[in-house]
């Protein structure tokens, strides 16, 4: 399967679904990096560069949507979710407007640019805003489906996209049964423990499950592509059926996927848990693959944490 970054899949999806004349796309001097340039080439009259002014861009997007448009606003995650946070909150989410904030270069896999550009807080921040839906697709195919779902569902969305090319999980054109907002996909069955992952940690978690298989641990893997609304049913089922959950995200362990899953489990069926992610620290410069190693986010690292968590479950069962 060909590798592709979710940001590129986003740009392609904009072109594919962008025939609709009500779709407009905004960017803040990063259209080559966010891939909205693909849409710009196809539909130049509906692509607007707003310059390096993210706060203005978000409120402009809000105003446009009041005129009946479906508005995509793109920049790097750090600037979308943090520089322009209050605009996203007050201009877009409070009036419940039809703006899709599609933020690329999330997480530490941004690589060489370093901590100033590695957003590891956006899931937590965006999830806390009423009316906002938060999607974090793992591969090109699910990104395409996520963009289609965002277009079909009125209201604000935050879609978290990556810079790094990633292996396909779902095949080049996954069918629509594989993506429902708020519904986790079970991509590997297992009975001993459940790994709940999001974004490019899904691929790493599948790798971890393979390593664990050799050690006799049968791990289930869920792709939690929707962080909000979180799939409480899937979490409860994982808790009941496997008795232990490990969450894996390329994000701070505070308030993101791990937080959302822990909340869902706590209010349904609590179980042994471990959150794998950035341990309340900023990232650094380096090759993405090297950084994933440094911060314990490779398949091997995940497998170690899952094994430890499984051991905790077994010792409690005694």
């Amino acid at each position: 399967m060909t590798k592709m970054a979710t940001r590129e899949a986003y740009g392609k999806a904009l072109v594919e679904f962008g025939k609709d004349p009500n779709i407009v796309v905004l960017d803040a001097d990063l259209s080559k990096s966010t891939f909205t340039m693909l849409f710009q080439k196809e539909y130049p009259e509906r692509h607007f560069n707003m310059g390096i002014a993210e706060a203005n861009m978000m409120s402009v997007a809000a105003g446009m949507s009041t005129c009946g448009k479906t508005v995509f606003a793109s920049t790097f995650a750090i600037f979308a979710a943090e520089r322009a946070l209050e605009q996203v909150r007050n201009s877009i989410c409070y009036p419940n407007l039809n703006v899709k904030v599609c933020a690329t270069h999330a997480g530490i896999s941004v690589g060489e640019d370093g901590a100033s550009h590695q957003c590891v807080e956006d899931l937590a921040i965006m999830r806390a805003i009423p009316n906002m839906r938060v999607i974090s697709p793992c591969d090109a195919a699910s990104t395409r489906l996520a963009i289609r779902a965002a277009i079909e569902t009125p209201g604000p969305f935050y879609v978290r996209l990556g810079r790094l090319s990633v292996e396909g999980v779902y095949g080049e054109y996954g069918d629509e049964t594989e993506f429902t907002i708020g519904k986790a996909n079970t991509i590997r069955e297992g009975k001993d423990i459940t790994i709940i992952a999001t974004g490019l940690m899904v691929q790493q978690s599948l790798g971890a499950a393979e390593i664990l298989k050799e050690k006799g641990i049968d791990a289930r893997v869920l792709d939690m592509h929707t962080i909000k609304p979180i799939d409480t049913d899937a979490v409860e089922k994982a808790s009941k059926e496997t008795g232990a959950i490990v969450t894996v995200e390329e994000h701070n362990i505070l308030g993101g996927l791990g937080g959302a899953v822990a909340e869902a489990a706590a209010e349904t069926t609590p179980c042994i848990m471990k959150r794998v992610g950035m341990r309340d620290t900023f990232g650094k410069s380096g090759k993405p693959e090297g950084l994933l190693k440094i911060y314990g986010l490779t398949a091997e690292d995940i497998a170690i944490e899952v094994e430890k968590t499984y051991a905790r479950k077994m010792s409690l069962a005694k």
Partner: protein, 282 residues
């Protein structure tokens, strides 16, 4: 402007001012100063200029108005209700639990409110977005926005101005309520604005300085904006904060304070007298 139109607008404004005081007094909370300084601008727009229909507030062809200085919601609500978007008796419910009249404008709550605002600096950007879509769709509607002078201290306002000039939004007209005051005192003491006129001009806007309490000047400026091609227009309206209630005039202290009963009665007596004088003239 002919006499009868001016009379009509003065009556509209006198009613708006009374409703502002009613709202803030009933709520014992809210912002009278800036609502009163903008009352004549609200009245010109809702009493005459805007092509809006209280029976069809969502009409896609309507002119838009964004109150970027959202704290002056009492002025906007007064104008909307006086224009017939909702019953004026609702004004007494301003800021109360269960009321549609939120402390700051909420577009999902109140018919005729085009954008939710309250966080200074954001409304002007939303107005830019509306004007851009008017251009894209080849629509004939015009977009109006109203900012405070203190609000100009927000960086986003300048981002918005840059983008409006870049996209040549000649369908966008913005007002600055240049009353010289903000919460902590004079704008020039809190954070000097320098020459607003020179700044907005340098940002690519056609800029007009007027007396914001003179309807002929407001109208002339708005009509000049309509004729201006290839750039947005900024109308810098010199005003008096608290205009119409003498003890509130030019006082920073009346920015966000409600009158007590005695002050309410004094304010209403003055506004009623002004209204009666206008009615006698008519």
């Amino acid at each position: 402007m002919d006499n009868s139109k001016e009379k009509k607008l003065k009556l509209f404004a006198a009613n708006v001012r009374k409703l502002v005081i009613e709202a803030v007094y009933s709520a014992q909370s809210g912002h009278p100063g800036g609502s009163l300084s903008s009352a004549d601008i609200f009245s010109y727009l809702y009493g005459d200029k805007l092509r809006v229909d209280p029976l069809n507030p969502e009409d896609p062809k309507r002119d838009r108005f964004v109150l970027s200085k959202g704290h002056c919601a009492p002025g906007l609500y007064a104008a909307l209700s006086h224009r017939g978007f909702f019953d004026t008796c609702k004004i007494k419910e301003f800021r109360q639990c269960g009321s549609m009249l939120q402390g700051h404008p909420c577009r999902a709550c109140v018919p005729g409110v085009d954008m939710s605002t309250g966080s200074l600096g954001q409304g002007i950007s939303a107005a830019v977005g509306m004007a851009m879509m008017g251009k894209l769709d080849g629509a004939s509607y015009r977009v109006y926005a109203l900012m405070g002078d203190g609000e100009l201290q927000e960086g986003q306002v300048w981002e918005a101005q840059m983008s409006a000039a870049h996209y040549k939004l000649d369908n966008l007209t913005a007002f600055i309520d240049f009353n010289g005051l903000q919460i902590d005192g004079k704008t020039d003491d809190v954070m000097s604005l320098g020459s607003i006129e020179a700044k907005t001009r340098a940002f690519g806007w056609h800029t007009i300085m007027i007396d914001g309490h003179d309807f002929s000047q407001i109208e002339a400026a708005v009509e000049e904006a309509e004729k201006t091609k290839g750039q947005p227009t900024m109308i810098v309206a010199k005003t008096h904060k608290g205009k119409g209630v003498s003890f509130m005039e030019d006082q920073a202290g009346w920015h966000g304070k409600a009158p007590n009963q005695e002050q309410y009665e004094m304010a209403m007596a003055e506004l009623d007298a002004a209204l009666a004088a206008l009615e006698v003239e008519a």
